[in-house]
């Protein structure tokens, strides 16, 4: 059997591009209230030509938390979240699922407009070309739900409080405490926040270690050379003041 046909129109993004796009998107959503956790559900629900709904059995029957397709020649894109996740108690998991579908809409909307049914969507998900799209969606979703400047701001606040109470002896405990506090504040899964704190552009964990090593009561500032510095209009944009 030969390799499957490529998915036409699928775009791949660099990490820098995904962070830039996420930040621009957040800045463009002036209609969304300035508050934490970031209201990804409201962002998706108020996106033009999006019909946001729940769907039973996506996880149990198909192993996916969300699905996107068109219906009966409609110009709308139907975005479904697994009913069990939507009706469950885990808000962090729900936000992660919604954030990822929002990311797919923003990054792969043109491809998804060709998807006619949920079965067709599941077929595309199994395609080897889709793996990078999933990865891109996760990065974009993380940047939307945990904007770097807000993670930075709250990591600084919580670092001070935590070392004040725990001292400098337990680096691992300090890291875990920051992770747990920020995950709760941003209403995201612990693992999502851990990755965000570890990786570029936030790189909070590395700076926590530096600060603890030097017994500094302040979180080490991020490296201005490596820091993500997109060019934006000078006025204060949405979510920057949180």
């Amino acid at each position: 059997m030969g390799s499957p046909m490529a998915i036409s129109g699928l775009v791949e993004y660099s990490r820098t591009e995904l962070e830039r796009r996420a930040r621009e998107y957040l800045s463009s959503r002036h209609d969304i209230p300035h508050m934490l956790p970031i209201k990804v559900e409201l962002m998706l629900d108020t996106t033009p030509n999006i019909v946001f709904d729940t769907f039973p059995g996506l996880v149990v029957k198909h192993g996916v938390e969300g699905a996107i397709c068109t219906q009966n020649g409609s110009k709308d894109l139907f975005v479904f979240i697994d009913e069990g996740i939507a009706c469950g108690h885990d808000s962090a998991r729900y936000n992660a699922a919604v954030g990822e579908e929002l990311a797919h809409v923003r990054l792969h909307g043109a491809v998804l407009m060709q998807v006619k049914t949920i079965e067709h969507f599941l077929e595309i998900q199994r395609h080897p070309d889709w793996d990078k799209s999933e990865y891109d969606a996760r990065i974009f979703s993380a940047a939307i739900r945990m904007p770097c400047h807000l993670v930075e701001k709250h990591a600084r606040i919580h670092y001070c409080e935590i070392v004040d109470s725990l001292g400098f002896g337990q680096t691992r405990q300090i890291e875990m405490a920051i992770n747990a506090r920020l995950a709760r504040l941003f209403e995201v899964p612990l693992e999502d926040m851990r990755r965000r704190l570890m990786n570029w552009p936030c790189e909070v964990m590395r700076r926590v270690q530096m600060s603890v090593l030097s017994c500094s009561p302040e979180l080490t500032p991020s490296d201005p050379v490596k820091k993500f510095m997109p060019v934006f209009s000078p006025q204060k944009t949405l979510f920057e003041e949180l």
Binding site: E41, L42, A86
Partner: protein
């Protein structure tokens, strides 16, 4: 998908109040899937005035305002059924029973068996079997 004036209005009011689907569903003690079904016209609006009032208040609608009247009027229009059915559907468990029957896609024969079961002597006396 069936359009519903009430559903469209509810969604518009919800989004105007900056509530996400799940967030608002929690606020009015509904499941997100039920709320979504009502908004999209797959399910009828809630029937009891208390429930509708609670939702209107959650949406910060002012009693006597145009939005308030529109909200209740559209719920009423969607709910315009014969009086006996209206009263029947005012009881939540009756609705739950009908929805269960619909979701399970029971055949006519299964429905007859269900009716026969409900009509058993001990049920006619107003007693449940405790199971």
């Amino acid at each position: 998908m069936a359009k519903s004036a009430f559903g469209n209005l509810l969604r518009a009011f919800r989004l105007r109040s900056n509530y996400g689907l799940r967030e608002f569903a929690q606020l009015i003690s509904e499941s997100p899937s039920n709320l979504s079904a009502v908004e999209k016209g797959r399910r009828a609006p809630w029937r009891t005035l208390d429930k509708l009032r609670a939702i209107a208040e959650a949406l910060s609608l002012q009693e006597g305002s145009r939005d308030w009247d529109q909200f209740f009027l559209s719920a009423r229009i969607r709910n315009s059924l014969p009086n006996d059915l209206e009263a029947l559907l005012g009881r939540d468990l009756n609705l739950a029973l009908l929805r269960t029957v619909e979701e399970k896609k029971l055949t006519d024969q299964q429905l007859r068996e269900l009716i026969a079961y409900v009509n058993k002597e001990r049920w006619a006396n107003g007693q449940s079997d405790g199971n």
